[in-house]
Symmetry: C2
Subunit: 256 residues, 2 copies
């Protein structure tokens, strides 16, 4: 008897940004695999499930991924409802394809439950739409790869061309990202927002200009953070950054 595996988007972190489908699946799960980005409160929604931590973050560690694939296949041979809880949406920067392919190859049924991705949670918190008539008709979600420019991973061209760009998993390389984007033609004064722990009580936001991104990023506390850039932020930056965001005000004055 083979169970079914659900790759479930956990959303950005806030418990109530889970979908109804995700919550129902957690309730009926026999086993739940979760990673470092999962909110511990979410696991309480799965009172009958065996809980298995899979310690991986930001998609590093290929070995870990292979092991997770194997764990999922093994679990499906033993349990009817297997939930693989993944931060954000499974299909954006979540390495879901490797899990889907491994399960499919083993003859196991897979379903994917979409989740709220961090960019949309950040946009909601900022109250700045990622698209806007007359200003932004396209938005790109990218992961940077500093120092590598082969066509397949030319995230830079996309992040320069897009009206609005959202950079996932890049805050640790903020300085190189800003330099690279400016060198390739993005204006140094492009409005930028940095959001850490989007949707959680610990969320923090900073607003500034692309050329200041490195300085702004020093204020991060090590939580997952995303960078948003584009003219959609201009009005918000001008009107509110200096009055509402003490961390940014502090950093702004230190820029001299």
């Amino acid at each position: 008897v083979s169970g079914r595996v659900y790759l479930v988007g956990a959303g950005p972190g806030a418990l109530d940004l889970l979908t109804l489908r995700a919550a129902r699946l957690l309730e009926s799960a026999d086993i739940v695999f979760y990673d470092a980005l999962a909110n511990p409160e979410m696991l309480k929604l799965a009172p009958n499930a065996k809980l298995v931590a899979v310690g991986k973050r930001h998609g590093r560690h290929s070995t870990a991924q292979t092991f997770i694939n194997k764990q999922l296949v093994d679990a499906a041979k033993k349990y009817a409802t297997v939930v693989r809880l993944k931060g954000g949406d499974p299909m954006l920067f979540g390495r879901a394809q490797e899990e889907i392919d491994a399960l499919t190859a083993a003859g196991i049924e897979v379903e994917v439950v979409p989740g709220i991705t961090a960019a949309l949670a950040a946009s909601a918190s900022l109250k700045v739409s990622l698209t806007r008539r007359g200003i932004a008709r396209h938005v790109a979600f990218v992961t940077p790869r500093i120092g590598k420019m082969e066509r397949e991973s030319d995230w830079i061209a996309t992040a320069v061309a897009a009206d609005t760009a959202v950079i996932y998993m890049g805050a640790g390389e903020a300085e190189a990202i800003a330099q690279t984007l400016i060198a390739r033609g993005r204006r140094a004064d492009t409005p930028v927002a940095l959001i850490e722990n989007a949707s959680l009580a610990s969320e923090r936001q900073w607003l500034g200009r692309l050329e200041e991104l490195a300085v702004i990023s020093r204020a991060l506390n090590g939580g997952p953070a995303i960078i948003v850039l584009g003219e959609v932020l201009a009005e918000r930056g001008a009107l509110q950054a200096l009055t509402e965001l003490p961390a940014w005000r502090h950093l702004s004055s230190s820029l001299g």
Copy 2:
């Protein structure tokens, strides 16, 4: 006494792809404004609310938008909890900024509740991740504007540069979109998927090549549809299109 307005993402259509927060807000809403893309079942989650249809789809009709803004402001002066339910995510192609700005200008508090955007629902249904290590590190969401190429709306450059491109609200212009993208450098044999009514029981999918998009799009039934293109679809297309998708098989044979 001023109420608060919640711009709530309704997700792609399936009732259980609402977030827990969205469901809770509907339950407590005094008034709900909904548009043509809303699932009627969702409105049953708001038994105590006055329901107001705002007849607009695909962001056309500026006059209608101005009127909706005014309706929201007026409602907030009368009701404590005003929900503006928007298909997908409010901050992607939803004209949310115009509503946020109008409400803010009127001194009314606004919150945004993110939702599952159609691209992620389609990706989940296809079981094809929009990103994939070694193949796709960036994805763009665009709306096309056929025949207009000014910098601010050069969706084409972004859709050509992005490893994976998702085109919203473009299925009606599939032929021009395919021609334009190919003329600007996207390979004619780029794998493409067309998904109508993502997440609903009436969902349909087609897989093919970019040069065939116009032919594929003739099978649409008039529901909201999105186009996904990029190499992430290659394996899925090769393995499964001809065996699983009768509509596509039919079209494929008619291509001659």
